[in-house]
């Protein structure tokens, strides 16, 4: 049997993460990576759909407080993420499968490290099982 390799969808803000390395170079080494202009753009639907489509985890990389180019997109998403985690729990999806990190990493070097760390945690949880998803 193939070893379990958790799939993570990673959203990151273009203004804080990896802008010096360029999307193509980073995209070649990070799978399921979706750079966005401001984490405030990430809709609740995008996160839920990622899980429905088979993601084992979703990682959001935003800018620290005071660094949002749109005043408070990161803050809006922080609040949203907390409530989404609670809702995921009701569907049987462990809340820690949605994680958010606020920092500045222009070269994006930390992205693969953060993904590796999350993968280790997800490997302990195993694949997502949505409650009631039975015939």
């Amino acid at each position: 049997m193939e070893p379990y390799d958790p799939k993570i969808v990673c959203f990151s803000c273009n203004f804080g993460w990896g802008y010096l390395s360029g999307e193509e170079a980073l995209g070649a080494v990070i799978s399921n990576w979706i750079p966005v202009i401001c984490t405030g753009k990430i809709d609740t639907r995008h996160i839920l759909k990622a899980f429905k489509a088979g993601a084992d985890g979703v990682l959001i990389l935003g800018c620290p407080e005071g660094h949002c180019h749109f005043q408070d997109g990161n803050y809006q998403t922080r609040k949203k993420a907390y409530l989404i985690r609670k809702v995921l729990g009701a569907f049987g999806i462990e809340p820690e499968r949605l994680d958010m990190e606020l920092a500045i990493d222009p070269e994006g070097k930390k992205i693969p490290q953060l993904l590796a760390r999350m993968k280790r945690r997800l490997a302990e949880l195993g694949p997502v099982k949505i409650t009631g998803d039975v015939r």
């Binding site: 609740t44 949203k80 949505i130 015939r135």
Partner: protein, 328 residues
């Protein structure tokens, strides 16, 4: 004399509230009885299943189906009425989005049966009796429909032409829907036969909705003496008006109860739960992590609030038998 158009009215996994609203058409119902032939309506008249089975495919002009699809009997009746009908209308929130019965999908078959037949405080069941699809009683076989293990919306099981949300839909909207079908005056297939605006846009309290909200914690309606004219949300009382379709006549709002979202999402493809989740958090003005957590924790059972009527049609709750068949 040309034959009158045939209409079938049938409740699947329903509480009969939708059927009851058809009764509330009152005089309109009497006029209707002159112009149509009601071939099936178990709530109001006797019927023989064999009579429906013997009909030609497409012989029924309109089937009005309420209720979610929960057991094997519902699956069979939905399929039969689809075959026999030219137009199928999903009536009421359960048929459209899953409704309150759809909350069962949050726990699955085993947990639900344990609650209903063992753990609920009102249950006395020392022998642990549970419904069985087949039981032998004195040499005779008795059968019951089997719970499918998942609550489905109507359109996840059969092709559905039109939708009429509401828990239940108001009689006027039902009357309009039937008249529109009979006159052939219908919007494109797949449309909802209810107004398109959000409830906030028609709510009499909207003038007392501030330009910017400042919510620090959530309150529930029974915890406060709500001002009968002020916007509920402005007072921190969870009201699903921003994410809910209008058409109910602001039924709850007018009796000083906030909207729970029974009319389902506004058009535009965004489900009411993710839409309202984003709305709620953006209205919170607390700053620090611990304050944010405290504010959001002040809303008990958020999934129950957000998905009260729409779990089976939601992104994570949905499961379409029709899509699976198409893929297979």
């Amino acid at each position: 004399m040309t034959e009158k158009p045939k209409i079938a009215i049938y409740g699947l996994g329903a509480c009969a509230g939708c059927d009851q609203t058809v009764v509330d058409l009152n005089e309109i119902l009497l006029q209707l009885a002159e112009t149509v032939d009601i071939v099936l309506w178990p709530l109001a008249m006797d019927f023989k299943l064999s009579r429906i089975q013997a009909m030609q495919d497409g012989e029924v002009a309109l089937s009005i189906l309420s209720g979610a699809v929960i057991n094997s009997d519902h699956h069979e009746m939905a399929a039969l009425l689809r075959r026999k009908s030219r137009i199928v209308l999903a009536m009421g929130t359960c048929a459209c989005f899953g409704g309150v019965p759809g909350l069962a999908n949050f726990c699955g078959r085993e947990e639900m049966f344990n609650q209903v037949y063992r753990d609920a405080p009102t249950v006395t069941n020392p022998d642990g009796v549970r419904p069985q699809p087949e039981t032998d009683v004195g040499g005779r076989k008795l059968t019951l429909p089997e719970f499918s293990g998942h609550v489905f919306t109507l359109d996840q099981v059969i092709d559905t032409d039109y939708y009429l949300p509401g828990c239940p839909p108001p009689p006027a909207l039902i009357g309009n829907a039937i008249t529109a079908v009979l006159a052939g005056d219908l919007p494109p297939k797949g449309s909802s036969l209810a107004p398109r605006k959000a409830l906030c846009d028609t709510c009499p309290r909207n003038s007392r909705k501030p330009g910017r909200m400042d919510i620090r914690y959530f309150r529930r309606i029974h915890e406060v003496d709500a001002d009968p004219d002020e916007c509920f949300l402005a007072a921190g009382i969870v009201c699903l008006g921003p994410a809910t379709r209008s058409g109910c006549g602001e039924a709850c709002i007018r009796i000083n109860v906030p909207c729970r979202g029974c009319f389902g999402p506004v058009p535009g493809g965004v489900g009411s739960a993710p839409k309202f989740l984003s709305t709620l958090t953006s209205l919170l003005t607390v700053e620090r992590d611990d304050e944010i957590e405290e504010a959001i924790d002040s809303l008990p059972d958020p999934a129950g609030y957000l998905y009260r009527f729409c779990q089976p049609s939601s992104i994570l709750g949905r499961k379409s038998l029709r899509e699976e068949e198409a893929e297979a």
